[in-house]
Assembly symmetry: C2
Homo-oligomer: 618 residues x 2
Amino acid sequence: MVNITFQKSACPGGECIGTVPAGSTILQAAIAAGVHLQSACGGKGTCGKCRVILPPEYRSEPLPEEKKFLSDEQIRNGIVLACKRHVQEDMAITLIQQKDVYDRKTQLEKADRRHALSPYVHKYDVNVSTPTITDQRSDWERLMAELPESHSIFRFNRRVAAKLPGILRGVSSHVTAVTAGDEILAVETGDTRDRFYGLAIDIGTTTIVVYLMNLNDGKVVARGALTNPQQGAGADVLSRIAYTADHPGGLSQLQSLVVEGLNHIISDLCREKEINSEQIYQAVVVGNTTMSHLFLGIDPTYLATAPFIPGFRQTVSLKASELGLNILGDGIVTILPIVAGYVGSDTIGVMLSGQIDTLKGIHLLLDIGTNGEMVLVGKGRILTCSTAAGPTFEGAGVKYGMRAADGAIERVRISDDVELGVIGKETEKVRGICGSGLIEAVSEMFRVGIITSEGRMITAESDIAKLSPALQERIIADTGGREFVLAWKDQTVSGENVTITQKDIRGLQLAKGAILAGIRVLMAHLEVSPEDIEMIHLAGAFGNYISRESALGIGLLPQVPLAKIQSIGNAAGNGAQMALLSTIEMAKANQYALVTEHIELSADKLFQDEFLEALALG
Amino acid sequence: MVNITFQKSACPGGECIGTVPAGSTILQAAIAAGVHLQSACGGKGTCGKCRVILPPEYRSEPLPEEKKFLSDEQIRNGIVLACKRHVQEDMAITLIQQKDVYDRKTQLEKADRRHALSPYVHKYDVNVSTPTITDQRSDWERLMAELPESHSIFRFNRRVAAKLPGILRGVSSHVTAVTAGDEILAVETGDTRDRFYGLAIDIGTTTIVVYLMNLNDGKVVARGALTNPQQGAGADVLSRIAYTADHPGGLSQLQSLVVEGLNHIISDLCREKEINSEQIYQAVVVGNTTMSHLFLGIDPTYLATAPFIPGFRQTVSLKASELGLNILGDGIVTILPIVAGYVGSDTIGVMLSGQIDTLKGIHLLLDIGTNGEMVLVGKGRILTCSTAAGPTFEGAGVKYGMRAADGAIERVRISDDVELGVIGKETEKVRGICGSGLIEAVSEMFRVGIITSEGRMITAESDIAKLSPALQERIIADTGGREFVLAWKDQTVSGENVTITQKDIRGLQLAKGAILAGIRVLMAHLEVSPEDIEMIHLAGAFGNYISRESALGIGLLPQVPLAKIQSIGNAAGNGAQMALLSTIEMAKANQYALVTEHIELSADKLFQDEFLEALALG
């Protein structure tokens, strides 16, 4: 076995080491270490994305695949493809642009999509003719006459027309017209084409993320995030829906909260980058179905009860001023379409980001949070379903559970004793355990025999006796039953032991059982089996940080080879970016929403059976 | 000569008597009396509109034309056609629905347009299906599915969608959808098709008028008017434009004023008729170009100076909420199109009301106020121009001038002495002289030789000596020059003589000269002469009250027979009603705006010459 060390920043929990048999690839070591490397082809050497930097002493001639994807300069700098380089001894690998997984992803994908940069919004540099006594056309008409003929029938915009007479008689009649479809969004003095911005927004139940994009080059200018200010009305969507039903004015209150939160981020980003918020012309928004309803102020009541019917599903475009979003008042806010009550535009974003139209074979896309949304693509069909995974994966409802923040256990290895990876500084004391840590812990406990496949912590003395003394010591009895100590009290901030309880395990079983059963139902509908799956794509922060081995270890995913599992980053937000930057991607979003076959699991006979079966670990 | 008395209410100045040669028609007597009778055909007996009631003692067998247009019951009740009945002796004629000329006109035209009632707004009574676990369409989609297929692609409306889930799960899922084009304006609980209203609005510089219309039958439910609250910023459009330039925030202030004024009327009308203002779904607005700009808040600055370019000209449709008009927030406010800086949508309204597409031969339409707008229709063309008539016709800038209100002299007959008709009660004392009174006075003074055709009041003793002693006495000298006394001080409220001054006559000459010159320019462009004119249509209140004889007498109009002059009432407001009630009329409005040839008189070489020539009286 060799130990491959990846630079620490890639792994918020500390030093990331992948321990693999000598002769493994660097990609395999990265997967073992839980380090996210782009690998669209799954290690076949055909996508050229899994780039890393070799230490100088190990550099050698480039391989044929590397010559194909890398420039001479990149090769001189020691860049190689991780899937093609085999490791025989310990070494330290440097990652490329690994600091911010979001930025990196966007940077990488920018190259792919540069040729397709075609935002819905346009800027036209025009010289409007001067009126005369014999040319009695109005100011609006003379402006229209200078715009491209293919767009000549624009709708009237009162706010633009109101100021147009003054603008045209200002310094010069050289102006920039901002258009979107058949609308004129603004007319600006002079040539302002270099200031051309948009937003991609991901409204999560927990976190809202805003990407400020330059529409001229498709790059992310800046990124900002905030805890969703609706949190006070409850952590999950059902609590938020109940809040709107129980509080008069609650719906508009929750709407205001999210808009204010977004405005706060926008204001920060604009100040930081010295951008005029009036020169942000479009925002493309994704979120789950409830978040879309709350953002638009649409009654979400009937999402909470069967048959879980949304108020709307189609793509919605509105003026920013109607929602109070602080970009150009006439700017367009586009909310991507919804598939069903629990499969929202965030899942459409995942489909875009996963470029499902280019995939060959059977692919599974998973976005796991409080809710798990699954997409199974193949045989010319797109199937979706969703299951309420409960808050377990986000660390809630777990005795020592917490969000993935400093002090959270997120890596667990069990051999003779327990080794922990804790988020934050190396000297950080333990505060609790986050979702991915819980999965690792249970996976490892199951692997070494502390938990049975039914999910019971072992109790028979004969079973316990098989464990190492250090592990035996960690099985303790508390008031609520048996617990397994991950961190002794001298290691923790609270001074209490941080443990995994039998109840925590049951919670995890229910959550992972629901996900796996949902996946199996989709597979049954498409008539495919695990070996047919080409790739499992894990979206979202959870997908970034979960250890693929552990996910397989507890049986959260169908049993596929490790190399067939990859993280696709914040796919929902990335999909919003793609739709913002390209009308083609926007059209795909609409198409996906139309053709997707949604399977409502509460109405699916198979689901109950699959769920009971899927509760078992492994 | 016989005296035909028309009922007093038709003539605000008191008893209306038409003195005509025995054997004249009642229509001729009505014209002589200044009483407005509908007469689309100009007295040929082919339109059947000039209906009056004969006194019982003069009733006889119906004429063939009367049998054609009148029911048996109408004939039994003494109704005859005024153009076909000749009078041999004095009698009193009763008018039909003469109380409110607006209501009457609308009533009469309703019959014409009933078959064409096709408002832009529709109401559909629909039963929306109940969702199930297997029918996962959103509430919006299930509603759409019930609407007529030809309208199936409606745009999303956030405000409607917001409440839709609750409405569909209320008492029943039986609802009424209100649509306009591709928009859903509202969804109402139950079948509300019987409550279906719209507004026709005429925003005048002086007066704003609102007609509340029932869109189910095309009838005027109620009418309200108010002095334009922008008056404080000046009486004419140039003052208002200057106000917006001189006062920061002045434009939005003037916009608010007119909207508040309209809301005041709407609120009164709705209260009076017990109508929910949310069930008013569209408003069609006409006004002069400046009024349209101020109503929409569009910078009017450049309307004030050559080349007088408007900010926009096309038909504009907006949400009521954007303007703050208190009808349904998603209701449509449509401003009819503009021809030029001084030929606005009110003139388009006049074209609609004059049904210019149905006219044969050459027709002149005139709308005279502070500004005079003229339309010459014929040879397949529509020509327009406008001239600043000044405030003379509205009684301003005249020494004893006043608006057409109680106490205003509005009829003047001069024989051996002066006979006056004063607006209001018979016992009313004189307060001043209104526009139509001024025209009558000058026309009569010219006819009897007190004024020369150059507009000079006679000064030579030999000329004065030819007048009756009573008239001689009325020619007095005041500080400003000679004056002619219309009302002696014992007849007036102020106790001062009310007179016509030389300056008043000069003002009237300039005003009428501009109008006549404009008409002549149009005629020259179309290459027609006065004898080619089939009919002169006088629009607006001025057109209602001006004596056609006097208008011809002073040479305000080309010399045509009296029968070829008719009043068409508040044609601008009536045109707004027509566009509200019929998408066909709305389409005509757009078409007229596109094809009309506007002649900007300040750029027209002919105008100067014609103007100098047109100053002469007679």
